[in-house]
């Protein structure tokens, strides 16, 4: 404890600070000597101490700022995908790894089933299970749910450490510290890593940053060991998230950029080859990825660059052997032409023969933002796949948005292999963040790092200014500063009269901005990103908090009141939750692997009841679940998602046509709605008996509060379905599919 008493804040007081009285009573002399010794810290040690304590604080901060949701609601899993992850983790801890690996789940995608073991990224589940087993081994009797809830905050804390080391690697320790602080509370990252958000991204961002850090370290040192470490980091990333494709494309792009700018070096050769070959071999061990590294178009860039590196190395060697420059140039031309030609032919043959699969839709939609909208409605239908609005950039990055270009400026001013990397990472990920909302997450670490460079460099320059002034005016006492880069700044122009005041003002400005950033981050985390979305909260008329726990009410109803082998049809959003909480078989779920199956459900929802009945019979559907927000004003309900059902259904079954549901291109549910809209299954199920209900004072019965209109069809009769359960706020409605008429 004595060590933490850190009086020397300034660094200059150490020598001058009076030590405790040397003549202490003998009984505690040992202690006094100890504290005496510890107080006589060297500047380096003090700095280390400060750094470590800052990092510890940041580590804790990153964890606790993500706990709003646990405090506000309860320790619960959020949203949709995390429920699947939770269910699989539970299975993993109960049945063991091999059962998990070979798990064929017959409860989802009825009747097709899903090979869970082969179609997921197991990194997250294995991580959580390891932590669970570890805690159990240490005799901490935790529940697996608690582990799952806290996995993301824990990894966010770890990410801050990686950010520190990364910042240190590309700039200096100051930048590292600032990066750690910035990333600890950056809303862009918090949005995916609050407690309860048990999703792949939670650990994947850690893995992503770790891989990049280790790779940059390997490039900087040329060490095989760091290369190996980055290969393992890559392996962890591949096991955790599909976003690894970003790594396997960014790193080759980076290497290519270095090659083009003439920064080829042996360090780069060692780092890339080691990382690529080992990383690829390791990644192949993940069942879901399999042979994609050699067979899929998305991974071909890495392979091409790998071969290019060998050509470079070979050329280097030939250059070394040949002294004739002319001869070498001829040789170079021939070799490069041949290499490119062979590569192109190999790629062409591979693609033509189908050995190399073409790019996937998601990949295309990244490169061409309009692609998904035109071709793959199922990707376009997901809200987190929408192009990003300016406001969400501001919301997620706040001042980092302005610091980012400044940081880029500093990076360009001091170009090195490492800064080139962070620049490329920042620019590409910013582009992707603009294409898809969810990729803001990938951009966040880069933005934080680059902004940290800006902040750190600016503040350092400003303080340097102040210090040199004081140095001149005060005694010439030697003092160590953080980076030890004072010598380069010695020739600062000291003739400016207002420089000192300006620096002070700027410093205050910077601190003001940073404190605004901290306030903004906390506010965003608390208000926007800590809602579990499975439990909805609203403000009542008297300012009190109203909780709508309808989802869980419905899922528990399913669990308690339906036969164990009942099949539930719903739009795919709710599939994971139904299987995880309701423990019932679903037709489609959030793993949107089979477009036709989803389209079938979309078709059923957008058909007339009798046609839908045939479809439901063919899928053995027992219950239909719809989400309806007309009573509570909950806007992300099935009626608002309905056009996507029509589009996705119509994409496979052309009998479903979007214009049939629109009136003059307008989507309405009131009296002026299209006749097909008023009689399709989704409309009927959502608004069944709603016409009798008075939702708002002063409005006619059947007033839909989510859309603010009086519904058009109040007299809904169901022929083949019957209402089985409606939750207390009507958010979830469950219908039972009747057996066919007995006498007909």
């Amino acid at each position: 404890m004595a060590v933490t008493k850190t009086e020397p804040i300034n660094g200059s007081t150490t020598k001058s600070s009076a030590p405790p009285l040397p003549s202490m009573p003998l009984k505690s002399d040992l202690l006094s000597i100890l504290s005496l010794k510890s107080l006589r810290l060297k500047t380096k040690q003090q700095e280390l101490l400060i750094r470590v304590s800052i990092l510890c604080l940041v580590y804790v901060l990153a964890f606790i700022t993500r706990l709003f949701s646990v405090l506000r609601y309860e320790s619960m899993i959020h949203e949709f995908d995390p429920y699947f992850n939770y269910r699989t983790t539970l299975f993993l801890t109960q049945k063991g790894f091999y059962e998990f690996w070979n798990w064929f789940d017959s409860e989802s995608w009825y009747p097709l089933g899903r090979i869970i073991g082969g179609t997921l990224y197991p990194g997250l589940m294995v991580t959580a299970a390891m932590m669970y087993w570890g805690l159990r081994f240490l005799r901490f009797a935790v529940h697996i749910r608690e582990v799952c809830v806290l996995t993301a905050p824990f990894f966010a804390s770890n990410t801050t450490l990686v950010a520190y080391f990364f910042g240190k690697e590309i700039w200096d320790t100051g930048a590292g510290l600032v990066a750690a602080v910035l990333i600890a509370i950056c809303p862009g990252y918090i949005s995916r890593s609050v407690a309860g958000s048990y999703d792949n991204e939670g650990v994947a961002i850690f893995a992503l940053l770790l891989t990049f850090y280790l790779f940059v370290k390997a490039v900087n040192t040329g060490s095989l060991a760091w290369g190996l470490a980055s290969a393992f980091g890559y392996f962890y990333m591949v096991s955790a998230w599909g976003g690894y494709v970003f790594i396997i494309n960014l790193i080759p792009l980076y290497v290519l950029a270095l090659l083009i700018t003439g920064r080829y070096s042996m360090r780069l050769y060692v780092a890339y080859n080691c990382m690529y070959v080992l990383g690829m071999l390791l990644a192949m061990q993940i069942r879901f990825v399999g042979f994609q590294h050699v067979q899929s178009g998305e991974h071909m860039a890495a392979m091409g660059v790998f071969f290019l590196m060998q050509v470079f190395y070979f050329l280097d060697w030939v250059k070394h052997l040949l002294n004739d420059k002319k001869l070498f140039e001829a040789f170079l031309r021939i070799t490069v032409t041949c290499a490119v030609g062979v590569g192109a032919i190999a790629l062409g043959v591979g693609t033509a023969s189908g050995y190399i699969s073409p790019w996937s839709g998601r990949f295309y939609s990244l490169l061409d933002p309009t692609y998904a909208k035109d071709h793959i409605p199922i990707i376009a239908s997901v809200s987190e796949h929408q192009p990003t609005a300016w406001s969400s950039f501001m919301f997620d990055f706040h001042i980092l948005l302005f610091l980012f270009p400044a940081g880029l400026y500093f990076c360009f001013k001091r170009l090195s292999d490492a800064t080139i990397f962070i620049v490329m990472y920042g620019l590409t990920s910013m582009y992707f963040a603009g294409v898809m909302v969810r990729l803001i997450l990938v951009a966040t670490p880069a933005v934080c790092l680059i902004s940290a460079i800006a902040v750190s460099a600016t503040i350092k320059n400003l303080t340097m200014l102040l210090r040199t002034k004081s140095k001149v005016s005060q005694t010439g006492s030697t003092k160590g500063t953080g980076g030890g880069k004072t010598s380069s700044k010695a020739m600062l122009d000291q003739s400016q009269p207002f420089q000192r005041n300006g620096a002070i003002a700027l410093l205050f400005g910077a601190f003001y901005l940073l404190s605004r950033y901290a306030i903004h981050c906390t506010w965003v985390t608390s208000e926007a990103y800590s809602s579990p979305s499975i439990v909805l909260a609203a403000r009542g008329a008297h300012g009190n908090r109203v909780i709508f726990d309808d989802y869980r009410e419905a899922y528990y109803w399913l669990r308690q009141n339906t036969p164990p082998d009942a099949k539930v049809m719903s739009w795919w959003d709710y599939g994971y939750q139904i299987t995880a909480m309701g423990n019932r078989t679903v037709i489609v779920d959030n793993n949107t692997w089979n477009n036709t199956h989803i389209a079938t459900v979309g078709r059923a929802m957008s058909s007339y009841e009798d046609e839908a009945y045939e479809i439901m019979r063919s899928l053995d559907v027992d219950y239909v679940l719809v989400v309806f927000g007309g009573v509570t004003g909950y806007s992300s309900d099935d009626i608002n998602k309905f056009l996507w059902m029509v589009r996705i259904g119509g994409g496979v079954f052309p009998v479903i046509k979007e214009p049939d549901y629109l009136v003059n291109g307008e989507y309405r549910v009131d009296k002026g709605a299209a006749p097909k809209m008023l009689n399709c299954l989704m409309y009927k199920l959502s608004y069944y008996r709603f016409g009798e209900l008075m939702t708002e004072y002063g409005k006619p019965p059947g007033y839909d509060r989510a859309r603010g209109v009086e519904i058009g069809n109040k007299d809904i009769k169901l022929e083949h379905l019957e209402e089985a359960f409606t939750t207390s706020n009507w958010i979830v409605r469950i219908y039972k599919v009747k057996p066919p008429n007995n006498r007909w």
Binding site: N102, F104, Y110, P111, G113, R287, N742
Partner: protein, 415 residues
């Protein structure tokens, strides 16, 4: 309570007709205890009720009260239909005085009586020869459905006397069958007035007696002639017009007796039990199969003979392994003792399959058996460990290892 006995409620019209006595001697297939005597109640009996305390008191209901407008007690149309929908049997007889109530019961069961209340079935060709040349509304019908299950093994020789109203089958109903149809020259019209417009129902689209076997195997018989069941008709002699042969006794007794045996599940009742499947060479039923497993499937089917369960022998029972469409469709072979079995290989497709036996034969109880069974793909250690095609790769890796070792050795120790 009444459920222990096979009970029939006969609801009679006020004009008490003598009714047929059904000759059941032992228990019926789905009922375990001996038959209790049928209860006869008047249709407007105020105590008329089909169920008490949520339990049905009867297993069969005969409505011989065509003209009743409202049943006594609390019984109404919905109750009668619920009675059928919970698996019980029903016989309805209508005649020219039929009420809307009876007609709507029939409509709900898939037959539509002629809307003209005064119309009767008239046939100028195959009428029954009587002492007086009448209006040809007494018909000698012999256009039976060809089914031993419905009408018994013994062929009905004599025509059946029929005097009543016509009905037609609702085209939307797939379950209703014509058991006795009118001749092609019959039509439905008021015999006492001149035909002003073509009759709405003509020819063999007119059904005289129809049956329905509902999806829950409840059986319903509907006829437009109450007289068909009368002693007068049962005992009457019959001669069809244009035919020289005169029968001493009409076919009515045999026809209605046999058909009501069918209606009350004495005949044509199948049961399927012990649906079993297991991997070849094992006996336990697995919870899940693997693709390409060999499996054995068996089911036992018995037929109720009126006294006991006898093995049902047929060569057209099929099993499907079904997932949205049948992947395997195999005819089951039987051992003449009721056991049907087959063996086949699970297809190379994973998913949630169903064993499906869909056996629908005219007159027989329809058997629809499902058993859900998931089929999983290979586990990671169920693939072949060493494959011939990979030998070059094995060779490559081992030579690489050896080469590396040798190279290191040479490099380290060679001067």
């Amino acid at each position: 309570m009444g459920r222990n006995y096979f009970t029939i409620l006969t609801v009679l019209s006020v004009t008490l007709l003598p009714i047929l006595s059904l000759s059941f001697s032992t228990d019926s297939p789905n009922r375990s205890s001996p038959l209790s005597p049928p209860r006869r109640l008047l249709a407007d009996d105020p105590k008329l009720a089909l169920q008490r305390y949520g339990q049905y008191l009867y297993d069969g209901l005969i409505l011989f009260s065509p003209s009743i407008e409202r049943f006594g007690g609390a019984l109404d149309l919905a109750d009668v239909l619920d009675f059928v929908d919970s698996g019980h049997d029903l016989i309805i007889a209508a005649d020219s005085s039929s009420s809307d109530l009876i007609k709507s019961v029939a409509t709900e069961c898939g037959v539509d009586f002629d809307e003209d209340p005064s119309a009767l079935v008239i046939d100028h060709k195959s009428y029954a020869v009587a002492e007086t040349e009448g209006d040809h509304t007494l018909i000698a019908a012999d256009d039976f459905i060809e089914s031993d299950v419905l009408l018994g093994k013994k062929k009905i020789e004599a025509p059946v006397l029929f005097k009543g109203i016509a009905h037609s089958l609702n085209a939307a109903n797939t379950l209703v069958l014509k058991v006795l149809s009118a001749s092609p020259l019959a039509y439905s019209a008021n015999p006492n007035s001149k035909l002003s417009s073509p009759p709405s129902l003509t020819g063999s689209s007119i059904s005289l007696v129809s049956v329905v076997q509902a999806r829950n195997n409840a059986r319903i018989m509907i006829t437009g002639s109450l007289d068909m069941f009368s002693n007068r008709f049962l005992r009457s002699s019959v001669q069809k017009a244009g035919s020289s042969r005169k029968y001493d006794k009409s076919g009515n007794e045999q026809f209605v007796t046999e058909l009501s045996k069918w209606v009350f599940h004495v005949r044509g009742h199948l049961k399927a039990v012990n649906l079993r499947h297991n991997k070849a060479g094992e006996t336990d039923e697995p919870a899940m199969y693997r693709i390409k497993d060999d499996l054995v499937f068996s089911v036992e089917i018995y037929e109720w003979s009126g006294k006991s369960w006898e093995p049902y022998v047929a060569n057209d029972v099929q099993v499907q392994l079904y997932m949205m469409s049948p992947y395997v469709l195999k005819t089951l072979s039987n051992d003449k003792k009721g056991l049907y079995h087959t063996s086949f290989k699970v297809p190379d497709v994973y998913g949630v399959f169903q064993f499906k036996v869909e056996y629908h034969r005219l007159g027989y109880t329809s058997l629809s058996l499902f058993k859900q069974i998931p089929v999983r793909p290979f586990r990671h250690n169920e693939y072949e460990r060493f494959i011939t095609a990979a030998f070059p790769y094995y060779g490559a890796s081992f030579t690489m290892m050896a080469g590396f070792f040798l190279f290191s050795f040479v490099y380290l120790y060679h001067k």
